[in-house]
């Protein structure tokens, strides 16, 4: 029952997001053909608007859009009128997804390790150093880090390619640049979560059993401390997988980020709508999967969800 409810709520959420985006989009002043207005005669522009249903009243436009959305037809881009929005997403997604997954893996893996090491050495030098690194990671924007990485790894030492996309070597620098901030955030969360767990009575029980440090830290400590981190993974996953405009621009990666940003400047309504709906779809699906996974990760959740 809970499962079905959550599943239906997912579609409701996407619908609300699509509607709000539609409304906001219509409030942005401007027109996709604004730059063409000087070149083309009025009749041509009118024909163009008619082709994209822009001559109809807004409620009708909304209805027509929603009708297409149900069949996952996101329409055709106005700016590059030969490509559909589905195609644009299909082209941009693989690069963004690979980059996103890779940087998420880096962020979680090293973030958890850094946080645990800091917690285990609470108030010692290693703890302070880790947290200073984390603060630096959070506060240095990736558009500063990216050129630095390029300068050292690509230009000075010639270990990795400067930019572009293709082999696995191309993924390393952008993934590093993209992962530092979430890595630092994960590390800080993990540290406080781990400190909290280490003060729990059951850790003393485990210690009194004479367990090895590995069992103590991994099976009793991290196993419990990582639960709050999982909540944080959902939004992180979405923000990384859907690509970031800046990093994709710096490394000339053919991802989704730039289509999204360009479409707003061009008032390319179908692309704005399409990418937003697509982002929100990924978000709600990820959150749904994470919620469902809690039942397996935390045995206590099972009982409560049965009741609700």
């Amino acid at each position: 029952m809970y499962f079905v409810k959550r599943f239906l709520a997912m579609f409701l959420t996407v619908w609300i997001i699509a509607t709000l985006t539609f409304i906001v989009m219509k409030f942005i002043p401007g027109d996709p053909f604004a730059t063409d207005a000087d070149v083309f005669p009025e009749e041509v522009l009118e024909n163009l608007r008619a082709a994209y249903n822009l001559d109809k009243p807004v409620p009708v436009q909304y209805f027509l859009y929603m009708k297409d959305l149900v069949t996952f037809d996101l329409g055709t881009s106005i700016v590059s009128n030969t490509r559909s929005v589905n195609q644009i997403i299909g082209d941009g997604l693989p690069a963004s997804a690979i980059l996103g997954l890779l940087s998420m893996a880096i962020a979680i893996f090293f973030g958890v390790i850094l946080g645990v090491i800091a917690a285990l050495n609470h108030n010692k030098a290693i703890d302070h150093i880790s947290m200073v690194i984390a603060i630096i990671g959070i506060s240095i924007p990736n558009f500063i880090l990216a050129p630095l990485l390029i300068k050292y790894f690509a230009v000075d030492w010639r270990i990795l390619p400067v930019a572009s996309w293709g082999t696995w070597q191309h993924t390393i620098l952008p993934a590093l640049a993209l992962s530092t901030t979430p890595l630092a955030v994960v590390a800080r969360y993990m540290r406080s979560s781990m400190l909290d767990v280490m003060n729990q009575n059951y850790m003393k029980t485990a210690e009194a059993k004479g367990l090895s440090t590995y069992r103590l830290v991994v099976q009793h400590g991290i196993r419990n401390a990582i639960l709050p981190i999982i909540t944080f993974i959902g939004p992180l996953f979405v923000s990384l997988i859907t690509g970031t405009f800046v990093i994709e621009k710096i490394f000339a990666i053919p991802g989704m980020g730039r289509y999204f940003v360009d479409s707003i400047f061009n008032r390319d309504y179908p692309v704005i709508m399409g990418t937003t709906v697509f982002y929100s779809l990924i978000l709600v699906v990820t959150l749904f999967l994470i919620d469902m996974s809690y039942r397996f990760i935390d045995p206590r959740i099972k009982l409560t969800s049965k009741g609700g």
Binding site: T205, G210, R215
Partner: protein, 340 residues
């Protein structure tokens, strides 16, 4: 050296921002093989710190062990490394904690939490450990042990969790079981069951037990010898009979007076609390720590720490009233006992 456990002149301090707290001072006692020794005293009297120091569970820092030895089977536990201590913990000495609701790992199956110690200490395979763990669950009187093995702590009631804790502690048949207020968090009927279980298992496994409690009823039921602690010090050690029939320290008298008596016929018999509060352990008084609250305090009590005075074999108290030079000690002690 024939004792199972011998604690000698143990001193433990805690470093805090406000200064050093002298949590345990000059504590000496022993536990024989297979006996039940109770440690009683109010909150903050150093009971838990003493036993957690025995197991090396006291976090250092902030704790500093500044004096003493803890001999277990002839070996000084304070000289062992963390790694060596791990071999003792859980296999030779184990512990049951106060709050069963929070003392079990919420994300690990109960069975696995029992089997874990067996795998680590007894080198059992996973399957053997599971078999032994199920046997332990049965031993502590939890029904359907096979099914219970697969369950998580939230599926257990408080009493059942404490039984599970006991089965964890006894899995490797330790020589010494330390039970830190094992029944405080349980309701009264469950308390009796858990105590009964512990006494029962003591017979079966022949484990010595240190039972920490502030419930003298529990002491009378279970213990053979009693250690009374106050302000980080042992004020009286004796057999359980002597504690109730011939107590020699005013603090012990006070404890006995504050037990409600359901057989009392006179309605006027009221509980007599011990007036005042325990001393500040940042700077304990140089004399007897109980003197400021003691009805029988003499001048010397404020000035000089009373030594441990032997009253009879196995019975000693730290109180100047037991010194032969103290004025009419018998009279005062009689007076004190009358009121108890």
């Amino acid at each position: 050296m024939t004792h199972l456990l011998e604690v000698r002149n143990l001193g433990v301090n805690f470093k805090t921002y406000g200064g050093e707290v002298k949590a345990v001072r000059d504590v000496s006692f022993h536990v024989n093989k297979g006996e039940i020794v109770a440690i009683v005293g109010e909150s903050g009297s150093g009971k838990s710190v003493t036993v957690q120091t025995i197991m090396g569970l006291i976090p250092k820092p902030p704790a500093i062990i500044n004096a003493g030895n803890i001999y277990f089977q002839g070996q000084d536990l304070l000289t062992l490394s963390k790694k060596q201590m791990r071999k003792v913990n859980g296999s030779k000495i184990s512990m049951v904690f106060q709050d069963p609701m929070t003392s079990l790992n919420p994300t690990m199956k109960i069975g696995k939490q029992i089997a874990e110690a067996l795998i680590v200490h007894n080198n059992l395979s996973k399957a053997e450990a599971k078999e032994k763990a199920i046997e332990m669950i049965r031993l502590v009187g939890i029904p359907n042990p096979e099914e219970r093995y697969e369950q998580y702590p939230h599926e257990f009631s408080g009493g059942m969790r404490q039984r599970a804790m006991i089965s964890i502690a006894l899995a490797c048949s330790p020589e010494l079981l330390i039970a830190d207020e094992p029944t405080t968090a349980l309701d009264v009927t469950i308390q009796a069951q858990v105590l009964e279980l512990m006494k029962d298992l003591k017979e079966k496994i022949n484990t010595a037990i240190i039972l920490i409690t502030h419930d003298l009823g529990v002491v009378a039921e279970t213990a053979e010898r009693v250690i009374v602690m106050y302000a980080g010090m042992i004020v009286e050690i004796s057999s359980v009979e002597d504690i109730f029939n011939n107590p020699k320290h005013p603090y012990t008298w006070g404890l006995l007076e504050s037990i409600p008596d359901i057989t009392a016929t006179s309605e006027k018999k009221r509980l007599i609390p011990i007036e005042g509060t325990p001393p500040d352990l940042f700077s304990p008084p140089k004399g007897c720590p109980f003197a400021p609250r003691c009805k029988f305090a003499m001048e010397i009590c404020m000035d000089q720490m009373p030594p441990e005075m032997e009253i009879s074999e196995g019975h000693s108290a730290r109180c100047w009233l037991n010194d032969p030079r103290s004025p009419a000690p018998e009279e005062v002690i009689q007076q004190g006992r009358k009121s108890s």
